[in-house]
Subunit: 513 residues, 2 copies
């Protein structure tokens, strides 16, 4: 005879002499109380962190150099367990050194902010702990993915929201999917026979596009040399005539153009490629049109700004990352595809242990085989719940406000002493790119020495920002332009006063340079 | 003059007439109390769900067909916001129909169970809401990834834990990385020039290996025809002599063998390929040896069972999914690579807006450019915190117990009336594969009619399991073997009595078939 269920498990009560270990938690016998109390302790730590994240008197970051951080605490993994008390301490320490990405003055990435409903949804997703491959094990999440993707396709402008799509682990993978599907559409035999069996392909994207287009081409065996970079105008938008010229040139060389990846919201300038002109060219030459709207896609939620994506409805596929402009917790990236069924044909392998054909429910809901992944994290619930909580109009208000703040920043610095804009004119997205010119450089001639000194300004200011922990904003060089600040606003917590603060802080930290 | 920070934001207090919306949450002015109370309400719902997940009197699943579920509740996305009350209701409804993947009688996938420390860690990860690309924005997590991957490489047996690696979104992607890196190692020019510039490659894996090897080959432009499936013995292990024969055959045809993907723990049989013999062959023919230990890698934590992976230390790369046998919440998959720097060379694109070379800290911690992804979810913290809480010995105990339960099941049914084992002998992993033979088939001759009736048995029992909601276990056909049950045990909550229950339940639900 086997022992009873309870006797088989370590008992939580038995060890209540004080020290608690993870073996006292569920599924331990009588582990309910220890579990509830442990999880509540964690939640209390997290709630405190969340509230502090929004507090402007708190630092964005308590910066330590890697070697300091390694020495400050013992992070090593050992044979023996730690107590639950120690586990709570580990959590506190981890959060102490974490970047407060929800802080109103954290502007460092395209993904900023911390949405409370999104956070709640992510916590639920963790507790549900399942995988997206089948309806069998993720019934609600599979349906919500269906509902949400259809809604997103409607907003792209595809009639009735028809088409296909998937939530993927980030924009780079979404863009890679687009390339993969475009190739398969033109040469389905590539799936079995590989690139050896098909002509030399070429893809086109702008010189300001995201590096994931090249990364995808390298991975897919196309090669980065076959990604032709199209020139941009001074605002960072692809020049359609250059695209057409390069397509013709490639065809003359015997290459086969199979993909144009236009960008709606470039990473640095926030530029929107002219999608209508690009769509015309793609149509003329029968090339798959992809729109990388990882960053700019969110503007589809705004009646005021969505015109910037006019023409997106003519795309064959669209990347759109709700974890960027819409503030959904990381990660949440969608690839939308106009033709239904193509993803499935391209990627399916019919694994019989997952996608049994003799199940008792409608198998069209077993969507896992269209993915490159096997197991796939549930990324949809955060977006779905936030959408329910805000409504489309709530997202719109949030996005409009960020764009308004960017315009405020632009107006404030465009004629201000000590600032030079990287490109002229009002920003199309929330990217505001500028140089801060310290007093010592202001009267210098525009020569090499000035350039080489200016190049060092942004990195030093940035390092100081991190050391003081007051704010964070990104910088980079681009082409022949030396390091400049790229300010982006996607954080719904940011206000005009935070923009004012940023300007003051840059001047405070940079005036002696 | 700009309005004050607070006046710029909707005020939570102002709307305290009753109805609360997400706009009353932080960052709303005075939103702290509403936020704490909303998140606490969510947590209360989740804690209730978690406790119920471990309760054997609760159903594993409250099954509804897709069309029923779509009708039972309004899941649509609208223009207008819902109240926070409604948001809580959405969460309750979502959980009502969710599969309780932590339930002691949920055996459906390789990933089962719900670890309390893992859950806590995932909640913290959500609150920290950052991305893995740079030390700048994920200092602690980047260090923990470094510490954890090194420890995993030590357990693989690479001296000093040296080497490289990454946490990727699932085993399929980890396997794809291995293929990508192996190809790059042999022909680095493929990155720029694509497959057109290099000879026709072939990869080898067993006929029982995971479908992701073919999926990867299709994606990378190698083609599924270039994945040669090596025969397995009756236990599902790759036959080394067949591997060598097929390598020679491929070479004779002028193809270039570049990868052998051995499996440590196959998906259906739980078989371990003979890694030492395979390593010898890989060495002889200078082929990259990858070990897909997504499922079996966890056994490296067990002094009793790790011999099953003997030879893994000779691999060039290893996939190991802590979200499977180690019970880490989804997703947590590691790719480990013996040669340091290769991933970086293979995948890097030097995006200057992320990987600035003039930062003020040690840039070797900016590991994002070795990934195919740009943004990358923080998957390491769950594993790291669980490891701290259990110690290596705690993981070992958990894994040993699952294997002991599998042996218990095997011993119980191997000679029991109404059962036939799919393969002979004690299972090497926790996979126990068997047919349940209903009374009506027991005396039938072994002919086609019996086969076609037996084929329908497992699907019907499975459908009934789901409708009753009492347990879930997977089934599939394999090769010429008709549908059989594949029982797997990775859930630390399972006990001998749950195994007994499963047997009783199969008999109860199948006796009339």
């Amino acid at each position: 005879a086997q022992p009873s269920v309870c006797a088989e498990r370590p008992c939580s009560i038995a060890s209540e002499k004080g020290i608690k270990l993870s073996t006292n938690l569920l599924p331990a016998c009588n582990g309910e109380i220890t579990t509830m109390s442990f999880l509540q302790d964690i939640v209390d730590i997290l709630l405190q962190y969340v509230v502090k994240s929004f507090d402007r008197t708190t630092k964005v970051i308590d910066f330590h150099y890697p070697n300091e951080l390694l020495q400050e605490y013992n992070w090593e993994l050992a044979d023996q367990p730690q107590t639950l008390e120690e586990i709570l301490l580990n959590c506190r320490t981890t959060l102490k050194y974490a970047i407060k990405t929800g802080h109103p003055r954290y502007f460092n990435q395209l993904s900023t902010g911390l949405d409370m409903v999104g956070l709640a949804a992510d916590w639920l997703t963790s507790a549900a702990n399942t995988n997206m491959f089948t309806y069998e094990i993720a019934p609600v999440f599979v349906l919500l993915e269906y509902v949400t993707l259809r809604k997103m396709r409607e907003m792209v402008g595809w009639p009735g929201g028809c088409g296909d799509g998937i939530f993927s682990p980030g924009g780079a993978i979404s863009n890679m999917y687009a390339m993969l599907i475009a190739r398969f559409k033109m040469f389905p035999e590539v799936k079995e026979k590989g690139m050896a069996a098909i002509p030399r392909l070429v893809a086109f994207t702008s010189e300001h596009s995201h590096f994931s287009v090249k990364k995808g081409a390298a991975a897919l065996g196309i090669g980065t040399d076959s990604v032709i970079l199209i020139r941009c105008d001074e605002r960072g938008k692809m020049i359609p005539s250059d695209l057409e010229r390069r397509i013709l040139e490639a065809k003359q060389k015997g290459f086969v153009p199979f993909l144009v990846s236009a960008t709606a919201g470039t990473t640095v300038y926030g530029a929107f490629d002219p999608l209508i002109a690009i769509a015309d060219i793609c149509k003329k030459y029968k090339i798959w049109m992809h729109v990388d709207g990882a960053w700019g896609g969110g503007l589809l939620m705004s009646r005021k700004h969505k015109w910037k994506l006019n023409g997106v409805e003519r795309a064959n596929s669209v990347t759109w990352n709700p974890h960027k402009m819409m503030g959904v917790p990381l990660q949440c990236s969608a690839l939308l595809v106009r033709e239904e069924g193509l993803m499935q044909s391209c990627n399916q392998m019919h694994a019989s242990y997952l996608f049994q054909q003799d199940k008792h429910y409608d198998l069209s809901y077993d969507t896992g085989d269209k993915a490159l992944q096997c197991g796939r994290h549930v990324d949809v619930f955060k977006l779905w719940l936030m959408w329910r909580a805000k409504g489309t109009t709530g997202f719109e208000a949030q996005i409009d406000k960020c764009l308004e703040l960017a315009e405020y920043l632009y107006n404030k610095i465009k004629n201000r002493e000590g600032y030079e804009m990287v490109f002229d004119g009002k920003p199309q997205h929330t990217n505001v790119c500028f140089w801060y010119i310290p007093p010592s450089l202001r009267s210098m001639e525009d020569n090499e020495e000035r350039m080489s000194r200016l190049m060092k300004v942004a990195p030093v200011i940035k390092a100081r920002m991190m050391e003081y922990g007051t704010t964070m904003v990104s910088y980079q060089p681009l082409g022949d332009k030396v390091n400049f600040f790229r300010m982006v606003i996607s954080n719904p917590a940011a206000t005009h006063q935070d923009i004012d603060f940023l300007i003051d802080e840059i001047e405070r930290l940079g005036q002696d340079l």
